[in-house]
Symmetry: C7
């Protein structure tokens, strides 16, 4: 089974957040139960603006931080995915 | 009887969600009573932007995930349909 | 007496919804007291965008489904009409 | 004394609604205390869009239906007027 | 002392409303404590749209009706002024 | 230490309002605890619109009235400053 | 580990605010627990407007004041970062 996001949407897979590691990302405040550190698993073809397709900036396999509250969650079997617009991705983490 | 959606609207037929299958899509949280996994049954001609018709990306027969809260529900006989704008469709599932 | 809608507005006449017929449209949820299945009785000249009149897509006599909550209701004698913008019409039913 | 509306505004004079006449307009629901059937008494010069004056579509003397909730009410002596934007006028009644 | 409004703003001086005169403007409803009938005392240079200054339509000395709720009130000595955008002025009264 | 506002922002220093002087500006209503009469102490380079820098209209040293509720307050040592967008400045007072 | 912000986003590191120093920045009101005086640690490539990348104005190492309420907080090990859009940065402090 395969998810192909439309437009400038991106499918993200929640990454486990190691709360005790010094180099891990730990989210503050009330976003604890919803980690915003994720891996890109599928990227849409890009939004169409004035008849031209705007290319996407993120790539499959990158680790990203996205805006909490953004996105729609779906579940395939045991895995949870989140579909967000690229504009809700704040930064790529390397 | 036939429904012809206007503009960039799409008519969707709710698909049964197999909650116990590993490869099935199961929606999390409070969207349980409203499955967002649907089949495209009719596609509008596309929105008109600056006098040009923008072609549609989804096709009849595709299975799609759409944004919960989006769309208007209508009932023909025993079947339930949802009319959404194409922009509310998040991804195509194959 | 005659109603001429302005811009891209459309005058609709509420159609009786046969709730027991299999091929009739029955609206779900809390939209029961306001049927959204209607007949087009008058069509405006079209909105003016950048100095050009955008032609209308719906025609007098068509049966349409429109977005619940949209429109303003008026009464002529015994009949009830609803004036909506064409953008609030979701689909044509044949 | 004379009211000259600015831009695309229109001055309307509330028309008496004959509730018992078959051909009269009777408004449904909670709009009873504010009749939306009115006569155009003054028309603005039109809005200026991109440096060009967009001509007005309604004329003094026409009877119109306008969107309830729209407009600002003013009183000259014994008469009540309502100033609305032309975009809040739904239809011309003849 | 002199107030020079910026952009498309206008400085208005509240005019006394003669509530008993037949030709006076008397505001209905809950706008009684804030008369919307005012005199223009200063006019801004006009808003700049796409690099061009859009000329103002109202002139110092004109009596105008403006949208209630609009504007910011300031007091010079004993007089009260209201600064509004020209778009909040509904009509010129002569 | 020096504050350089970005874009079309302006740094204002609250001016003391002489409430008893006839020519002083006294704000009405609930804006008493936040005087809106201020002196311009720094001006940004101007906003960039369509790739062009739009020049600023206010100058350092001018006394201005700005929209209450607008701006962010900062404190340097003993002085209080407010950073507003130029569009929130209503008028220059001379 | 490295954070690369997307578009016109900027990564900020909260700076300690010396509340007792005369030349320090002390924020008024209810923003005390969230200092808005920060150091730029990473700058995005700039937003894309009409197919052109708009260059960024702030630079790594600058001290900035940003709008309270703006931004998303992330934690790397012991340090806290905030990711904001450049438009939420009010001023550069030197």
């Amino acid at each position: 089974m395969k998810i192909s996001p439309l437009g400038d949407r991106v499918v993200l897979k929640s990454a486990e957040v190691e709360e005790t590691t010094k180099s891990g990302i730990i989210l503050t405040g009330n976003s604890k139960e919803k980690p915003v550190y994720s891996e890109v698993v599928a990227v849409g073809p890009g939004a169409v603006v004035d008849g031209k397709k705007v290319p996407m900036e993120v790539k499959v396999g990158q680790k990203v931080i996205y805006s909490k509250y953004a996105g729609t969650e779906v579940k395939f079997g045991e895995d949870e995915y989140t579909i967000v617009k690229q504009g809700d991705i704040l930064a790529v983490v390397e």
